[in-house]
């Protein structure tokens, strides 16, 4: 496996402080490797977005990062902790090294500015020595890259369709050629045809430009198709992490299995859908032990007592994956 570009170590994020605090992300360890697409799945409220924004300190109040490190490995030079950067350094780091495509594109674009302005002001901020015309040329180039005619440069966001806006955002994310692109449910608002187009395009661009992607969605079947590795979150923790195919073929964590069993398949034999009983956990009053155990069909006695640690399972493909489940006692904790 190639070298890491982003390493998240024991990241903890809370909303609010004190008794009212909601721990939305708990001791998350995750490594993104150069050039890969890392999928992040989990049901709504499991902390996917919080993790993504937390590592770039973009959480809105009352979000607070209460601990952890986010190590960034630049192409050259030493790795550094993103959470330790000063405001100024962080501004420089943002978008140049990690860009984010947000959940809803309509809301990500400033409604009162032309998209050209919004594309070029990134360049203005990060490449102050670039000339006005060069900036525009670059913006035009990016739009072409994502398949939008250059004559839409002067359009306002509301004049573009949802798909086009999403593409503009992707183009904007790539404009500084960052190492990491984080995509938070980039296609949930679009219909399947559009979704496939955009994702296809993104994968193609990644192959050409070589950035790494963290791809967040709750649609596991989409992830399986498009990502290299998948991490599954539940109740603020990563419960399983493995290559996409491995997860699809045999997920180790009962929650991952449940997720997979919730999607009807379009092709192949009509298989029985299992779903996941019960309802998502309340982050304020987490069950003790494994937070999934109240819903887990395979829960047994240790589950309610102790929190399982994310570690390499004892399966044959163990070294390439990890899981946090008492069914698969850990040989070697990660992180």
């Amino acid at each position: 496996m190639s070298d890491p570009v982003l390493e998240i170590r024991n990241l903890n994020v809370e909303y609010g402080l004190g008794d009212q605090a909601v721990r939305a992300v708990r001791d998350v360890n995750l490594t993104l490797h150069r050039g890969e697409v890392l999928g992040l799945a989990g049901e709504s409220g499991s902390g996917k977005s919080t993790l993504a924004y937390g590592m770039t300190r973009l959480l809105a109040p009352p979000g607070v990062i209460t601990g952890g490190q986010v190590l960034y490995h630049p192409e050259q030079g030493e790795a550094y902790d993103v959470l330790g950067l000063s405001d100024r350094e962080l501004r420089g780091f943002r978008w140049a090294e990690t860009a984010i495509v947000f959940q809803g594109a309509m809301n990500s674009l400033n409604p009162v500015h032309k998209i050209s302005t919004q594309l070029t002001d990134v360049l203005k901020a990060h490449r102050p020595d670039m000339s006005e015309s060069a900036r525009h040329a670059r913006a035009r180039e990016m739009l072409k890259l994502v398949g939008i005619a250059a004559d839409r440069m002067d359009a306002y966001p509301h004049q573009l369709s949802g798909g086009m806006r999403q593409r503009v955002m992707i183009g904007m994310a790539l404009i500084l050629q960052p190492q990491v692109v984080i995509m938070d449910e980039p296609t949930t608002a679009l219909d399947v045809v559009m979704q496939r187009q955009i994702l296809g395009q993104l994968i193609e661009l990644r192959e050409r430009l070589g950035f790494s992607v963290i791809f967040i969605t709750h649609d596991l079947s989409l992830l399986v198709e498009f990502s290299n590795r998948i991490a599954i979150m539940y109740g603020g923790r990563i419960v399983e992490e493995a290559p996409a195919a491995a997860i699809y073929r045999d997920a180790l964590h009962p929650y991952s299995k449940g997720l997979l069993g919730s999607f009807p398949a379009l092709r192949g034999p009509r298989r029985e859908l299992t779903g996941i009983p019960g309802s998502p956990p309340d982050l304020k009053g987490m069950p003790s032990g494994c937070s999934f155990h109240p819903r887990c069909p395979k829960a047994f006695e240790p589950c309610s007592g102790n929190i399982p640690v994310l570690g390499r399972p004892g399966t044959p493909d163990g070294p390439s994956r990890s899981v946090a489940c008492w069914l698969h006692p850990t040989e070697q904790p990660v992180g």
Partner: protein, 326 residues
């Protein structure tokens, strides 16, 4: 374009309705202008003058209300607002044209300053939450609740007097004549400082508060987070992203307040003896001066409507979403 036409039709209707109301409502008031005039002079004008005044005002002939209404519209279409009673026989249009500029300049400029100042401070308070700017809020809340005539009277008491820079009343020094010269302009400016400050103090907080709230609301929009994620400078995010969007809802409020310039400043003008149109209206009300009242109401109505139209257009310009192609 169609949007504009629709608005205009709507405005015309509103104008008609408002003018009609303005015609009928004052006439519900008991008594008549001649009596009002006699009463105003409380004995200085003897009752024998009554008959001559009826003749003078042309009230000796009894026309039906309906006929008067029709005549009124007839006059309006000729641009004739009639003759004032209080200032008989000065044409209403003359009274309005001599007092309107004062109001427009004093209150208009103050409203604009207040809007920009308040909006600016509101942007700061909304953006720099938790800093010194928060201290503005309790103070402004209190100030915005102070009746401004009360504030004005206190200001006159405390700040004016012999030798004070601030005059206590009027729009310019006695003995001067409105003209654009080096005597008049400074004098007019000096006279406008206190009334302007009074209006400013009690109106600026409204803008601060609403702008702050809008800033806070807009600040949590996704595109603000995106702007931060893009690594833009704080200034740029605050101004070009947050403030620019937060301003939009305030624009219509601003237009509305522009419309109320004429009608809403009655008391400042009374307290500071400012020669504006609000005070004229007040006098007209007391004297049952229908023609003057109607004329001023007409001006107010038109200015509110025009201000709204301007707001519509401004909105059209400021918010690209309302601009429809084709």
């Amino acid at each position: 374009m169609k949007y504009l036409l629709q608005r205009i039709a709507f405005y015309l209707f509103t104008a008609w309705a408002a003018i009609t109301l303005n015609f009928f409502i004052p006439r519900m008031v008991p008594g008549d202008p001649v009596q009002a005039l006699i009463t105003k002079y409380q004995g200085q004008l003897s009752t024998q003058a009554i008959d001559s005044l009826y003749v003078l005002f042309g009230l000796d002939k009894d026309k039906g209300l309906w006929q008067e209404y029709l005549d009124y519209w007839g006059q309006l279409f000729h641009g004739d607002l009639g003759l004032s009673f209080t200032f008989f026989p000065t044409p209403v249009s003359e009274i309005i044209s001599s007092s309107l500029p004062w109001t427009l300049l004093l209150v208009g400029i103050t409203t604009i300053i207040s809007f920009f100042l308040g909006t600016g401070l509101g942007v700061l308070a909304g953006w720099r939450r938790g800093s010194w700017a928060d201290g503005l809020l309790p103070v402004t809340t209190f100030l915005s609740s102070v009746p401004y005539f009360w504030l004005g009277i206190i200001a006159i008491y405390l700040l004016t007097g012999p030798g004070s820079f601030f005059p206590s009343s009027g729009g310019f020094d006695n003995g001067l004549v409105p003209a654009f010269d080096q005597y008049f302009i400074p004098s007019a400016l000096r006279h406008s400082v206190l009334p302007a400050l009074t209006i400013l103090i009690s109106s600026v907080s409204g803008w601060i508060l609403s702008m702050r709230n809008m800033m806070v609301t807009v600040s949590s929009e996704d595109y603000i987070t995106v702007a931060h994620a893009k690594g833009l400078t704080d200034r740029r995010v605050a101004m070009s992203y947050a403030a620019r969007n937060a301003l939009l809802p305030n624009v219509s409020g601003f237009a509305l307040s522009l419309g109320f310039i004429v009608g809403g400043t009655l008391l400042v003008e009374i307290v500071f003896s400012y020669p504006g149109i609000g005070f004229q209206l007040f006098q007209a009300l007391g004297a049952q001066d229908y023609p003057l009242m109607q004329g001023i109401f007409l001006i107010i109505t038109i200015s509110v409507l025009v201000a709204n139209l301007i707001a519509d257009v401004a909105y059209l310009l400021l918010d690209p979403r309302t601009r429809k192609e084709g």
